[in-house]
């Protein structure tokens, strides 16, 4: 796939020089590093950056050091991984469906995971995020498969059906989730914190089980980026260019499932990051998926860590769960997108 092929995309991408894009990408990485450092330092117990450095270097930094290595490092690492997964999942979802408002949330992924987790808490008496992991993953995957099956029409993935199926399934699943929570106060009390979506209270070992699906999803997403460019031109054009449209869609759907299900399993349902990251990157780097997907790898964690820091600082000394911050930030962003998308 060379510069010539994505004809309709090219004007939008512009002739933005690769050097400019690479510079922007590097700037993004630098911003992410700053953000990660802030994430280690900020919180209800602010820690000076120098102490953070000492703690990371392994020196004895007292109680502050323990806060940094025991709580904030895991939190930040999880934020980086989950943010990256969400960003890429959003870019692929929007590319595959050719719908700028597509995201794991629209595909019913969060609703599926939430219902599965709440049911598991109710039926099996689970109490820790580590134990929720596979239920969240399974629920997310099942919901996505259901939505994709609903959206398949004559062998093609119909964007309108996708939006409808996702919206309807999410509404029903969230009603059922409320029902289960209302049936037992213990479940309600246990589940509501997970349902808000948070990076806190987890250790990095929670990432180990999802590492394989995460990497597989990432590789798959990067592999289909050229084909996604062709897909942006419409199914027929893509077909004419020799792109196996159905297979690319299937691969894209699988990548979205793997990435989004892993992230919801680790951090709970988070909205907005997957939706916003691709839009942000498209603005800076253009619509070429070969830049968009790596860009989202940086923008996703940037948004997620930024929201997490905001949630820790705004109502200090109490914290707002990052999922609530992202949903709240996401609303005006979504409204803005909607204003722009319609004349």
């Amino acid at each position: 796939m060379n510069e010539t092929a994505p004809g309709a995309v090219a004007p939008a991408v512009g002739r933005a020089a690769p050097i400019r894009r690479a510079t922007l990408l590097l700037a993004g990485v630098a911003a992410l590093a700053v953000c990660a450092a802030l994430s280690l330092a900020a919180g209800s117990r602010p820690v000076p950056l120098a102490t953070v450095w000492h703690a990371l270097a392994g020196d004895d930094a007292g109680r502050d050091g323990l806060v940094v290595t025991g709580l904030r490092v895991p939190r930040t690492v999880i934020g980086l991984v989950v943010g990256a997964a969400l960003g890429v999942a959003g870019a692929v979802a929007q590319g595959v469906t050719r719908n700028p408002l597509a995201s794991p949330t629209t595909l019913g992924i969060n609703a599926g995971a939430s219902f599965a987790v709440v049911t598991a808490i109710y039926a099996l008496g689970l109490t820790r995020p580590v134990e929720y992991l596979w239920f969240a993953f399974g629920g997310a995957a099942l919901a996505t498969v259901a939505v994709l099956a609903l959206a398949r029409h004559a062998g093609e993935l119909d964007p309108v059906r996708l939006a409808l199926g996702g919206t309807v399934l999410a509404a029903v699943l969230s009603a059922w989730t409320s029902a289960v929570m209302l049936a037992s106060h213990r479940t309600l009390d246990e589940a509501r914190f997970w349902l808000a979506g948070s990076l806190a209270g987890r250790q990095t070992d929670i990432l180990l089980p999802v590492l394989a699906p995460l990497l597989a999803g990432l590789v798959l997403a990067l592999a289909i980026t050229p084909a996604l460019n062709a897909l942006a031109l419409g199914d027929e054009t893509a077909q004419a260019l020799g792109v196996p449209v159905a297979r690319v869609r299937a691969a894209g759907g699988l990548a979205v499932v793997l990435l989004a299900a892993s992230s919801v399993a680790v951090a709970g349902p988070l909205s907005f990051v997957a939706l916003a990251a691709p839009h942000l990157v498209r603005k800076l780097l253009g619509a070429d998926h070969r830049w968009l997907v790596p860009g989202c790898l940086v923008a996703g964690p940037l948004l997620l860590l930024g929201s997490d820091i905001a949630g820790r600082v705004v109502l200090a000394p109490t914290e707002i769960e990052v999922g609530i911050v992202t949903a709240f930030l996401g609303a005006p962003m979504l409204a803005l997108l909607a204003r722009k998308a319609t004349r």
Binding site: A12, L101, P159, L169, A232, F328, A331, L334, L337, T342
Partner: protein, 388 residues
């Protein structure tokens, strides 16, 4: 410049959404001077459509009668069933104050307010939904989707949070619904309103409000969180006559106003140019009708919380059974909403093994598959002519 793709795709989505719309032909067809395959169900068209129109009228009358009958049966059942069984006929008598005084007390004070609240809210939601779907020409538009009932939830939950007496909760819901509508209007106004924009901005408003409600639920003590969750799922539990009476009067006047405005609704269906030609300012008419829909939905949500899918599904079911919209089908829609919500509440009370389930769970479970089937039907390219 780099955003062009997003915009293009957005436009495409917009077109698709309108194309998927069941409330009218595609915009292009609407603009053409002679509305395409003139199957005109528009009430004022003389000539060929006459007999079809009469047939449809009969059909709607028949369906409405059936709905009224069903409503009476459900009401009798609802008033009679429970821990103390009262025979259905006695229960209906007790409703108007005749018969055993214990029965009268039980029926009038405990069972009737709940059943009537379900009827009122069902009617209000369904009519609000049908108004929105027609004015916005989008089958997905409904007070649930565009944030009005989400605002009502937030208002109610905020009142719960302040610890104010429970009587004030419906007032909070009403205020929240209106606030959400105002937010929606401000955010989607851009030198005019377009349908797709309202729906998409509404989704955003809904999401933002839901986030705040979620924050409350996470922060509340467990007891209060359960209350809030019950409210946000939609429930008719523990309604009193004061609330039900006020709500009922408001919803009734709303339905009457909707009937009075039906001519404008029908003209709007023809498209903006035609509407202007017929002496109706489309934007003003649209705004009035939308405001009415918001009021109806907010009142209903103040009574029961945002019961899902009634507003979204009932208009589709009515259209499926009774054909294209007329003033008569507006009445049928109100009846249909009442039947659906009352039946769902009875199922919650007497059929399902779980106690204290909010009625919204049942309406969502029942409404969703229906809605999916109906919409997928309309998405088929050929369906455009059959659903019109």
């Amino acid at each position: 410049m780099s955003d062009l793709m997003g915009e293009r795709t957005g436009e495409r989505t917009g077109e698709r959404m309108q194309g998927a719309n069941g409330t009218g032909p595609r915009p292009a067809a609407r603009r053409s001077p002679a509305p395409a395959p003139a199957r005109a169900f528009l009430p004022h068209r003389p000539g060929a459509g006459g007999s079809a129109l009469a047939r449809q009228r009969r059909r709607i009358a028949l369906l409405s009668a059936a709905a009224v009958l069903l409503l009476a049966v459900l009401l009798a059942l609802g008033l009679s069933a429970g821990e103390v069984h009262v025979p259905p006929l006695d229960a209906l008598q007790a409703l108007v104050g005749l018969g055993d005084s214990a029965d009268v007390m039980l029926v009038q004070e405990l069972r009737a307010p709940r059943a009537v609240a379900a009827i009122v809210a069902g009617a209000g939601l369904a009519v609000a939904g049908t108004l929105m779907q027609r004015v916005l020409r989008n089958p997905l538009a409904s007070p649930d989707v565009i944030g009005v009932t989400g605002g009502a939830s937030l208002g109610a939950v905020a009142i719960l949070a302040t610890g104010a007496p429970a009587v004030l909760t419906p007032a909070g819901a009403l205020g929240g619904g209106m606030l959400a509508a105002l937010l929606l209007a401000v955010l989607s106004w851009r030198g005019g309103v377009t349908v797709t924009r309202i729906v998409l901005v509404g989704l955003a408003v809904q999401q933002g409000l839901a986030a705040v409600v979620n924050l409350f639920i996470v922060r509340f003590p467990a007891e209060l969180a359960a209350d809030a969750l019950q409210w946000t799922t939609g429930s008719v539990y523990g309604r009193t006559w004061t609330e039900t009476g006020t709500g009922g009067a408001l919803v009734l006047s709303g339905v009457v106003l909707a009937l009075a405005g039906h001519r404008r609704l029908a003209v709007l269906d023809l498209g903006d140019e035609s509407a202007g030609g017929l002496g109706i300012a489309p934007n003003a008419a649209r705004l009035q009708l939308l405001l009415l829909a918001v009021l109806l939905a907010s009142v209903a949500a103040a009574l029961t919380g945002p019961v899902g899918f009634v507003a979204l599904a009932v208009p589709h079911i009515v259209r499926f059974l009774a054909g294209p919209p007329t003033a008569g089908s507006l009445v049928l829609t109100a009846l249909g909403g009442a039947v659906l919500l009352l039946a769902s509440d009875l199922a919650v009370l007497h059929l399902l093994p779980v106690h204290g389930l909010p009625v919204g769970v049942v309406t969502a479970t029942l409404g969703a598959p229906w809605l999916l089937v109906l919409m997928l039907r309309q998405l088929k390219p050929t369906a455009g002519s059959t659903t019109r």
